[in-house]
Amino acid sequence: MGVSGTPRPVIQVSGIRKTYGATVAVSEVSFEVGEGEIFGLIGPNGAGKTTTMECVEGVRRPDRGVISILGLDPFRDVYRLQNRIGVQLQQAQLQKRIKVWEAVDLWASLYSKAVDGNRLLEQLGLANKRDAWFMTLSGGQKQRLFIALALINDPEVVFLDELTTGLDPQSRQAIWGLVRGIRERGKTVFMTTHLMEEAERLCDRVAIIEHGKIIDIGSPDELVRRHCPVRTVVLATGNALAEEHLLTIPYVEAVARQDGRFTIQGRGDDLVTEVIHCLSENRIRVTEFRTVLPSLEDVFLKLTGHSIRD
């Protein structure tokens, strides 16, 4: 177990800093990615996600700090590293008129080992697009091709930078399934996203980054519990005595009432159980009952004071 309670770390980043002229892109960024996990770097555009990722890939050299990936120095050993990692770059393009199979074939020829390109295309639902030009593919198909290219050398670590940006919800869902499939093959995934829902659904652990600094790291659940411990239960009832009873529930901090609808807020995982217990004990009949749980979106808002989309 590593320092942060994760499995054997395959990526260790400590204290990196990168500036472009007077602009500090990232500073004092440190984190570890464990073997076999999906690790997400989340934050708004311009927060330093891509810069951080490209330093780990060996594409960029940080001004300061130490990075180790698969035991290698990414910048010095970039050519050895490239055989063991797969990369999908943000907003990348290929030659407009390159055919899908030609791209896969070229990529396969570049690595010391390669998986069967045709099977890969089949798995990614691109088999019928083998002979299509890159420019004729849809956004989702292009991203699936880039995933294929990132997987062609059977890499140990896969980098996915803003994989689903600009895709429609359906394609996005399909891509999420593919990313889970990558992890199931035992690979480590390091991804960036500015979509909180994506991070919540895919990532085992996330690091929230803003203005080039990492604010916090943990599993989505951990982060929510740590920063947004307040749970909310909304229920509707005609019972006149309900408010009195609800206020006696342990953990409850506030009860707001609007006509027959109550919004109950409190801390801790037991809140919902306690509310249900109180309702049954006092035979309060409810016509509506739902829980509102905070999400990473709320965590981000809490930590930065603004929504990620601002």
């Binding site: 770059l89 290929l94 008129r97 990529w107 570049l110």
Partner: protein, 249 residues
């Protein structure tokens, strides 16, 4: 060191030929211009003046050759800037492809297409061009490839400085085409005023033209080692500068 070079070169050639303007614009149009101009000038004017006849016999093939070389260079500048703008260069660079392999593939692709264009021109010329002298086809093609290879290195330098793909073609043309005026093709270097003469000696195209003219006329390579050396120097300087200023993204 050059893993993937042949595959990438062959791919770039295929991709280029798939472009609507690729094959037609750069291969067929110089050949057509050559044939039309050759027929027109050859039949209409050759008999009237010795100067024009001389131009048709030596100047026109050399001019056509220079146009092939320049269109190869302009096309390279455009492709490189489109690849950079679209993130294609960056994507290729994030593979085990070495940076010099990516650029070398483009040079080889352009040289291959130049040789093909040259061959077509000679074939077309054989039929329509009223020149009955023996043409040193192989030597001339080699001279053209050396010239193109050298000027392509200028192309990389231009590709390094153009801000966006939209400006690639006009900026490239604005730098390269004025060189034609000074390269000794239309006005013999000896008849230029001293200042322009010096300027002409600084223009890389001058050496390309001198080499092409000489080889076309059947002169020995040994008489043009200076031109070849100059073209090699241009290549070395431009490649060294490009290595410093070339932008991948």
């Amino acid at each position: 060191m050059f893993r993937g070079l042949w595959k990438l070169t062959w791919l770039e050639i295929k991709i280029f030929l798939r472009e609507p303007m690729g094959a037609v614009g750069t291969i067929l149009s110089p050949v057509l211009v050559f044939v039309i101009a050759g027929r027109f000038m050859g039949t209409q004017l050759a008999s009237r003046s010795i100067a024009v006849a001389g131009f048709v016999r030596v100047g026109l093939p050399v001019l056509a050759a220079m146009m092939i070389a320049l269109s190869a260079v302009l096309s390279l500048v455009t492709i490189i800037s489109i690849y950079r703008e679209g993130g294609i260069l960056k994507r290729l660079r994030a593979t085990p492809l070495r940076p010099h392999t990516i650029l070398t593939a483009h040079v080889l692709a352009k040289l291959a297409l130049t040789a093909v264009t040259m061959a077509l021109m000679v074939l077309a010329g054989k039929r329509y061009f009223p020149v009955n002298v023996r043409i040193p086809v192989v030597g001339f093609t080699i001279a053209l490839l050396i010239s193109t290879w050298s000027i392509l290195s200028i192309g990389f330098l231009i590709a390094s400085i153009v801000p966006t793909a939209r400006f690639a073609q006009p900026i490239g043309a604005a730098i390269l085409y004025p060189m034609i005026a000074l390269c000794g093709l239309f006005v013999p270097l000896q008849s230029l005023p001293p200042a322009l003469h010096t300027a002409a000696r600084m223009v890389p195209l001058t050496y390309a033209v001198s080499l092409l003219q000489g080889i076309w006329k059947g002169e020995a390579w040994s008489a043009h080692l200076g031109d070849v050396a100059a073209l090699v120097i241009v290549f070395v300087i431009c490649t060294a500068l490009s290595a410093k200023v070339f932008r991948w993204e």
